[in-house]
Symmetry: C2
Amino acid sequence: MKKFNTSPISGMQELIPAMQTEFNRLKSGIAMAFTQHGFQSIETPTIDRTEILLAKAGGDTEKQIYKVVKTAEAADGADQALRFDHTVPLARYTVEHMNDLTFPFKVTQIGRNFRGERAQKGRFREFYQCDVDVIGWNKLPVAYDAEVIATLVDAIKVLPLPRFIVRVSNRKLLNGLLQALNLNHLATEIFGIVDHAEKVPPEKTVAALEELGLGSENVVKITTFMQIQGARKEVITRLKSLGCTDKIFSEGVDELEEVLALVQDLVTDAEVIADMLIVRGLDYYTGTVFETIAPDYREFGSICSGGRYENLASNYTDQSLPGVGGSIGLTRLFAALIENGLVQTNKIKPVDVCLIPITGNEYAACAKFAESLRSEGKAVDLVLTDKKLGDKLKYAGRVAKFAAVIGETEAKSGHYKLRNLETGEETEN
Amino acid sequence: MKKFNTSPISGMQELIPAMQTEFNRLKSGIAMAFTQHGFQSIETPTIDRTEILLAKAGGDTEKQIYKVVKTAEAADGADQALRFDHTVPLARYTVEHMNDLTFPFKVTQIGRNFRGERAQKGRFREFYQCDVDVIGWNKLPVAYDAEVIATLVDAIKVLPLPRFIVRVSNRKLLNGLLQALNLNHLATEIFGIVDHAEKVPPEKTVAALEELGLGSENVVKITTFMQIQGARKEVITRLKSLGCTDKIFSEGVDELEEVLALVQDLVTDAEVIADMLIVRGLDYYTGTVFETIAPDYREFGSICSGGRYENLASNYTDQSLPGVGGSIGLTRLFAALIENGLVQTNKIKPVDVCLIPITGNEYAACAKFAESLRSEGKAVDLVLTDKKLGDKLKYAGRVAKFAAVIGETEAKSGHYKLRNLETGEETEN
């Protein structure tokens, strides 16, 4: 009989052990890829000053932020809240520890963030984000945009998804085009329409542009631009053929070409395309932007995404700290993997070997065997219950891949039989 | 120029990258030891219902808990707070997921917990705890008390401390003794005095006991008991010689003897003693209790500690779920390691190899070399800045153990020289 409601708060992902084992494997795989690409791990506090967290935010973020208060608030009644992403605390961290960092600062953060969103499918109030960022001192070559993409592509290979396509663009292209068309004053609206274009029928996008009163010629120019998509050389040719002579636009073309070429040097097996539909919603991106889809599971949305920002920490310092970063939203992804049957927990056994002593007299021998198996990297569980052998074997079958029963003979001889609990096969050890 | 206060909130541990690298190494080492002992990893949400978190708590905990509120609180205005330990959420989790768990449930949780304590040296408001617990279904042999201690002792070997002593007792001993002396009604006070005894001069302890009005004979009996400490056989003999015939006391003696004997079977190199001064402050412990000290660094306090509790989830279920668990308070420990110069960050290089292309023409060759080094498990950083070679080498010297400069010759031949950045030694690759 339950006396309290013991379910987790809605919007929180709480996994049973086999699922957690698989989640941890993915998280470790991602962390390993980040580390192997030379990114240094940091952790910022979960709780930060609200003024820091909301310095650049507004709208939804401000509504969704979790504030924290001590019950017995005393001397230290500062206004505090839970971080909602890694980017804002990273800006604060970089300024605070500037003198202890080496630039370009290649940094990774993997941890939980919080947003008090309305609970719904695919939305979590507490969620893991796996971030990589490179922060430059005054300037940062666009080669690092490619390195961030390459790192994330290496990282997501750990996911049980067969194939990925990285879609890359550069916000300077649309910005430059709008400048050339004298439409800068409508940039926010037009970026919003482009960002939304894949979610609505094409005629709705056209209608939305027309409603802005651009004139039909401009609408055609923008929709023509939006449709440019494909392999690097083809896209660069098409972009140049638009005849836009704006300087920002040209910079965008050059940067896009360089990033795409370099990504393919850095990860030879990645499918990378240029795609003008990618603009990213967030205003702070200023150059390269990218998203990644799993073409066989488009309903997953973007697997990882990010971009270049020129002014990460302008609220905290006058020092120019341009950066480029990207993120994998692991909690949301994991929920989608489960929903699509791509995580099969019935096969996941957290323990490698269960050692089953027949009586207490064999505990010491079991401990010796366990020590030797552990030194080979195995996870070993000693079954210390005083139940019947059958019950002990049942327990082993649930948690472990292999089991060995240790009686007087095995304890004395130092030899025992390892039984594969799936196939029933036995090997001497 | 800083425009905001960019320091973390006081009471939060925020580490520079080299420190974080070492922190992560210790945390991973602890996690590995737990996994290798057959403990299954779970994570509970950071935010839980206040009624769950405070069901058994009171006093300081209630004062220190961080409550969370959404700024735009709407439909879902439930009373929520940040977890302050792993034990309470574990109880909720075990009841909630009962049917998906295998008992005895060997479980580990490593994560951040929160207490709004007054900020002071060695006290943190956000802190990592590394917990192991074994939860039984109806009953749980005391052999698991030994397994929990053995697991923690294996785990703390990763810490840069030369030696540990595990001090074990059993609360049934003092409980039984007080029962025999008809002093149960003063149990809370006497446990408190014993728990506090090491922090005050012996005469203060005696005075505190006398103040309770026990009578001098009882004071002598209790202080005699308190002084019992040493190797298993000696202690068991001394406990039996006290002549206490209480049944609970006898149970305590038997359990202590069994646990001590088995711990030594399970970890042959551990220094384990029985020590009647160990009672643990928390009321929910009912049997075995233990603490661990580093004798060369007594000021660190307890390195890991824990005990047996008979009634973990009695607030949530009528099912009896006895357990035993223990914890390493890693954040506090890490601060003590730093303070005592036991973490030397100047020697920690997060990157194994920096590959330095002379120009952009060598990026592809570098990427190929990097891939091959990464497949050997190395962390490899490509230096993609457009700075002078000297600056690139300076960067490498700060973040990496080895570096290789890749020019046209190296790119063509596929061979390059790896330079050890500490010794200057070079090897062909």
